[in-house]
């Protein structure tokens, strides 16, 4: 049966067909839907959200050593978090076949950098596969499991946004259950103390030699002969783009297995073609290795290492051809940047925090990343998951050292706090910091599309579980000054900020607790927060057109320039009442609505 699947759905299907029994991940674009789709195979695969990518990979390592086939998936920057276990598990090898999926993001549609994770395969000396479409994505998971068990190694499956989120046709197969291998204690394999690790490193080097022989033989790396004037070497989505542009005007060496590279096949191919192009997105990962073998090729001389490739870019770089386009004036076109949703619980908090003077607001990864834009203009920084809390500590230390009148505030979400913010808060507490840590608890992982986490009370596959209360956690860690507030109540926000700013010799924590406006409320949420049953309305005769409410940046507020009045979009308003509190003339009121 053939079905249209995204690359992520196809990877999940591959995990099912390949006999995977355990899967773990932390959500992150563009990888999130891999585990969400694996979780649908409830009968066959145990799928779990981990608090972070390091934990996800470690759980998968444990599963493998115990004898089960396992898969971990994460976005490119997630692999940085998981790099510690990755490099040593690369030494030990596996028991059950093990796959690590890295979903890279050329173009940074929803990421803070565009690192090329193919280097991780080379760096950690593990085999790597790169699918070009959904069919290959599915098939390569099955093949990766086989390679993992044959060569006793973790296998990296590297995909990019265009693979993850594009749909193409896939032939579905049946699940082939792996044999559960018995667990045996193997100190010489899994106990990576220095004396063992030295031996394991030697084994890894031998494994690489065997894998290079495999790379030269496997049909994952294949040649398509057409016109031999141009030869193209490409992998992943770049191969599809190259086919689109050159068609039969070039011959191809298509690489599906890209670490180690098939140098013999590459040399044979290079010898037969007049001009050799290496077409790859981001870094010259393949090109530099080919050039280091003394093979002449052209690549990054003509292609940028920044952003996504496209057929258009390749056509213009190598053929100097351009499609005819309609020429028109778009100078008055305006963008539609993403914004915090109507009723977002982050809005009221940043609205007040952003107004404070002599404050450095350290931001983190999540929807609140949007708090730096107009009109909120609140946060100062974004680096990585969990960084806000530790960065605030470092910054505050410097402000204190130079007697500067500045306070460092950290703002971090609930899921991000569980991810790596907890370690950072330990740093704050241990090192006698006086930063203000604000945990914006919207009761869900918001930006990636509502995944449960340790604070929500549910597992990925729908089992009720312990709710880890953030207030209890920070108190248990040793924070003495903790307040929990409703961020929709601006007076409560201001009072809490005044309170925290007055504590200048010890750390304080403000927890804003209110569900994401788009969250499907759990029974516990309904009990605690009640159903959404009201909206705000503007009385036009009272409104004076001062635009104060518009400073909240709520997308439900509509300014009518002709009559100089504001109205509220009933399709969007969820009655959070933040705008109402900013109105100096009480022109905004609440009305009940049936939902």
């Amino acid at each position: 049966m053939k079905k249209l699947l995204t690359g992520n759905e196809a990877i999940a299907r591959g995990a099912y067909e390949g006999g995977i029994v355990y899967a773990s991940a932390y959500p992150g674009t563009p990888s999130t839907e891999i585990l969400e789709n694996i979780a649908l195979y409830k009968e066959d695969i145990i799928a779990e959200w981990a608090p972070n990518e390091k934990v996800a990979l470690e759980a998968v390592i444990g599963a493998s050593i115990a004898g089960g086939r396992a898969i971990a998936s994460m976005k490119h920057v997630g692999v940085n978090v998981a790099a510690d276990p990755l490099f040593t598990f690369a030494y030990t090898g596996v028991t059950g076949g093990t796959v690590l999926v890295t979903a890279d993001e050329p173009g940074m549609h929803s990421s803070q950098n565009e690192q090329d994770n193919r280097y991780y395969a080379r760096f950690s000396k593990i085999p790597m596969l790169e699918p070009s479409n959904s069919q290959e994505a599915k098939d390569m998971v099955v093949e990766a499991i086989r390679i993992s068990e044959t060569y006793d190694s973790l296998v990296l499956l590297r995909v990019t946004t265009r693979i993850c989120h594009s749909k193409s046709l896939v032939n579905l197969g049946d699940r082939v259950e792996g044999e559960k291998k018995p667990y045996t204690k193997q100190l010489d394999k899994f106990d990576a103390v220095p004396s063992t690790a030295r031996k394991l490193h030697a084994k890894v080097e031998k494994r690489l030699t065997a894998l290079e022989a495999f790379s030269n033989e496997t049909p994952l790396n294949f040649i398509e002969w057409h016109d031999k004037k141009i030869g193209v070497i490409a992998s992943g989505i770049s191969y599809e783009y190259a086919k689109e542009v050159f068609g039969d005007r070039a011959s191809y060496l298509k690489l599906g297995f890209t670490h180690p590279l098939p140098f013999k096949k590459i040399e044979d191919f290079a010898r037969e073609v007049e001009t050799l192009y290496v077409i790859e997105e981001l870094e010259p990962y393949i090109e530099e290795q080919i050039k280091s073998r003394g093979i002449h090729c052209i690549g990054k001389e003509r292609l940028s290492n920044q952003g996504e490739l496209s057929p258009e870019i390749i056509r213009s770089a190598f053929l100097e051809e351009k499609l005819e386009v309609i020429d028109y004036d778009a100078s008055d076109m305006v963008p539609r940047p993403p914004t915090l949703c109507a009723g977002c619980p982050h809005r009221g908090f940043y609205y007040e925090l952003g107004k404070r003077k002599n404050i450095m607001i350290n931001g983190d990864i999540g929807c609140y990343g949007l708090s730096g834009f107009e009109p909120l203009n609140a946060k100062d920084t974004t680096i990585c998951m969990g960084a806000s809390v530790s960065m605030a500590h470092g910054a505050q230390t410097i402000f204190n050292r130079y007697n500067e009148d500045m306070r460092a505030v950290a703002t971090i979400g609930d899921s991000t706090f569980f991810h790596t913010g907890m370690n950072s808060l330990l740093d704050v507490i241990y090192n006698r910091s006086n930063t203000i840590t604000c945990i914006l608890d919207n009761r869900i992982t918001g930006m990636t599309g509502h995944q449960d986490h340790p604070g929500t009370g549910y597992t990925l596959q729908g089992m009720p579980t312990t709710i880890v209360e953030i207030e209890d956690v920070v108190k248990a860690m040793g924070v003495k000054h903790v307040r929990v507030i409703n961020p929709h109540h601006l007076d409560e926000v201001n009072e809490a900020l005044d309170w925290a700013l007055a504590i200048d010799n010890e750390p304080s924590v403000i927890i804003t607790r209110y569900p994401c406006a788009l969250k499907k409320y759990s029974p516990q949420d309904l009990e605690e927060f009640g159903a959404i049953d009201s909206q705000c309305v503007v009385d036009e005769s009272t409104c004076i057109g001062c635009k104060k409410c518009l400073k909240t940046g709520c997308p439900a507020l509509i300014w009518h320039p002709e009559k100089r009045r504001v109205s509220i979009d009933t399709n969007q308003c969820v009655g959070c009442q933040v705008c109402l509190q900013t109105c100096p003339v009480n022109a905004i009121s609440v009305k009940g609505v049936a939902r």
Binding site: K2, Y241, S310, P338, M447
Partner: protein, 191 residues
Amino acid sequence: MSTTKNILLVGVGGQGTITASKILSNGLVAHGYDVKMAEIHGMSQRGGSVVSQVRYGEEVHSPVIDKGDADIIVAFEMMEALRWLGHLKPTGKMVINNYQLPSVRINSGIDSYPQNILERIREKANTTVIDASDIAKSLGNRRTMNVVLLGALIKSMALEDLNWEEIIRENVKEAFVDINIQALSAGMKEI
């Protein structure tokens, strides 16, 4: 790959472009075509500009459509039609929903909505304007606007000889099947 046809569905998050392109793609598969479809998810796209790219033919390679290479663009919103006009083949067709959805920055009085969009596009391309929102409203469900536009797209690309009713039945919730079938045929009549 000159036999490959390229369709862009552009609009604003929440307008139903993704559902329309899903129905379209499944129909094309049932037709026996090779199909690829690309979307960008990620940062909260509520109210953001969204685009679905659908390519079909004998064998499709790239999932993305270049500037100047779309055979048809169906714009669910007027400003989005202007934004994506550069992706249309000079000989391509533009189908525009006669509907404006201002951005947050326009609603806040920071930016202004571009003027005379329909006239400006008509000057440059073969354009059909459809009151899809009004048609959907008259059918009794404003949210079927996307399927009205899908109907217009199917007729424009001469794909109407397929059992689209069955495809709709397979892709929308049972309670909405009938109204979506009506919306589809209403959209076809507009071309």
